[in-house]
Symmetry: C2
């Protein structure tokens, strides 16, 4: 029996075909393996005891509510908390500006459902987040790569790309996945002004903001947009073109799957309709857990623990790279987040290197899949949040070894 | 600033525009209100203490795992448990046949993503589940209504409809939402044979199966399909055309959002790709909670408590309807589940009745939105699981009063 969907869906998911790499990476689950491939937070810093205590309080005081269906919009106190914090940051928001999502991945999916029509294109700076590309490809999105450097997207080159009316601009302003790059302060304002002028929405995906190791926080794109609109329209509630996505995955726990999106109330209304069909609502118990731990101020203290640990891991990786990697290889110096990005000399293929590395019991993710338009074959992503400093030293040494061997082989050919 | 999506999405969600009714129903949150409108389980039977104990065990013994990212496919022991139970029911399944979803609503959404192309039609028996229509409309599905009676879809009339190649057939075989109707035993086998002959997939949505108040369980459609295939192909693992959806929402707690789909491994592979873009994975902690309570046998014992309670509530509603409703009104007698379905005399409009009912502090959902092709204006859905027998008696008496008044008004006009 052959069903039509087999061909249909294959065409829609062509961008997803990194299955060869996925097969390669399966071995990383073996015990002695050192993997810089995943995108996992450090489980050592999960606040297990605090979650357990909050779980008991919630089930004791409001068990029936925690286990019952909830509103699609999300748990109202949590929405109010998000709105309040956005308001404090200069984006006047009420609960109507906030939708709680099943991780911020779901917000990417729902936005694709609403903003993308088959054949539309989305403007991304490459390399970019792989699972965003996956989410939108299903809706028929094509991608246009905006020029970018180590300060993020080059706003001086965006004008012609915006005149072509992309469905939206996708941007991770802080320590983006995969490259660890942060969008420069002056480019943030420029990007928002350009997008507003051309009537192009922005999807601001900001999961790593709280994981800053040094330097001052930079204003969000939505803050710039709110200021710009306030000057023009004197509206009291945010109704602009930026959708701001964040999550509890990095500062609390990803396994709870609680994220949120802040946007114009009209767009939130559409997202709610889409979410109703997608999963009715995000798990009530999990939203109440996140709320309990956020409102008490615990997460702000806990954030310091995470930042201290991840900073040490990043420093260990930067030091190990300087020690172990041969000349001609460069890498980013992220000021936060979980990833850094390595560029090999032209002609070296990261997928070939991965085969050698796996033989040395160490893994990473090759950079090509993060480039929707092709390219990036000589790049790769390293995760530093999920390995101890000692493991990082050992793993990077192994990788440096694999790299030297591969390079000599390339030169001798 | 006008964005293109405003028009686009409005067209895609035309089916969803029951916002007038949603507005009407907002008042049901007031304290003295009796609502038969929602689709909520009884919170009194949620096993709060057992969930709390399981939460403590999981966080104590495997806290880091419970709070970490997990595989998109789902928590492996839970998948294995589902596979084992399907195998015992005669559907030879391994973990590759199983995907854990964020409630079974997500399985509906993911199946729409894969099976529906814009302009496709889906074959449904009406009235049918509203949020399924919502999920698939976004992907451009149209609906064809299959003739049905109080034994479910009329398989004797399906041939011509199947020759028109719908994307799939949607069927809730047990105590379906909204009408409470159960598909007759002999029609189950006939439906599966017809679908197989025409190469049309079936989406079997079975959230209420465990809520049977009387009579013996009937074989699932996927069981019939597995038998049929085994006779033809001698395959050891299920690879047929039925996708079987179920959930922990009715026998454990909906607020955890854990469901599953059993299907051919190839289709599961596509669903996994789609789910990766949709929400990465279902909350790990919640899957472990469901597994803990399912594997211990607790849920099977707990099911008896729920069934006893819901049976009493259904009986109370049937008795109250017989006492309070005027002649000419008929209703279904569901053998399980959470809903029954009322048919008013032709010419009476359930939405008008709802206005009167709300004035009497009682609510229900009018039947028209459950009919994608229009019709059903003289029908309505009553939920009995979320009100005590005493509340049901009072509420149905109020509704009977409203109905008599409305009817007299209609006659005098």
């Amino acid at each position: 029996m052959a069903f039509r969907w087999e061909q249909q869906f294959a065409a829609r998911t062509a961008h997803m075909s990194s299955s060869a790499i996925r097969e390669l990476l399966k071995v990383t689950e073996q015990p002695d393996f050192i993997s810089f491939a995943g995108g996992l937070p450090a489980p050592e810093v999960f606040p297990v005891a605090e979650v357990a205590a909050a779980a008991q309080r919630i089930l004791r005081d409001a068990g029936a509510q925690a286990l019952q269906y909830g509103a699609t919009e999300g748990y109202r106190p949590l929405r109010a908390l998000v709105a309040e914090r956005m308001t404090c940051a200069g984006v006047p928001a009420s609960v109507e500006n906030v939708l709680i999502t099943t991780g911020s991945q779901q917000a990417l999916d729902l936005l694709g459902k609403i903003l993308v029509d088959r054949g539309d294109h989305v403007l991304v700076d490459t390399p970019t987040y792989l699972a965003a590309l996956q989410a939108w490809s299903v809706y028929g999105a094509a991608y246009v790569e905006a020029p970018a450097d180590d300060q993020g997207v080059r706003t001086d080159a965006l004008g012609p790309l915006l005149r072509a009316r992309p469905a939206f601009i996708y941007c991770q302003p802080n320590f983006q996945n995969p490259a660890g790059v942060t969008l420069a302060a002056e480019r943030r304002e420029a990007l928002v002004r350009l997008a507003a002028r051309h009537g192009v929405p922005i999807v601001e995906d900001d999961p790593y903001r709280d994981l800053r190791f040094e330097g001052a926080d930079l204003p969000r794109l939505i803050e710039h947009d709110a200021r710009l609109r306030a000057a023009q329209t004197h509206e009291e509630q945010y109704a602009g073109g930026v959708s701001y996505l964040s999550t509890f995955s990095k500062i609390l726990a990803p396994g709870l799957r609680v994220g949120w999106v802040v946007a114009a109330p009209e767009l939130i209304g559409k997202l709610v309709q889409a979410k109703q069909g997608a999963d009715l609502h995000t798990a009530t118990f999990n939203q109440m857990l996140a709320y309990e731990l956020a409102r008490s101020g615990f997460l702000e203290r806990h954030r310091e623990t995470i930042v201290r640990e991840y900073r040490a891991r990043r420093d260990a990786m930067l030091a190990a790279l300087a020690d172990s990697f041969p000349e001609g290889v460069t890498w980013t110096h992220p000021a936060g987040g979980m990833f850094l990005w390595v560029r090999l000399p032209e002609g070296l293929d990261a997928e070939d290197l991965l085969r050698d590395a796996i033989a040395q019991q160490v893994a990473f993710v090759p950079g090509a899949p993060f480039h929707p338009g092709g390219g990036g074959r000589n790049t790769l992503r390293l995760n530093f949040s999920n390995s101890s400093p000692e493991t990082i030293r050992v793993g990077i040494a192994r990788l440096g070894e694999a790299l030297r061997t591969r390079r000599e082989a390339a030169v001798s050919v």
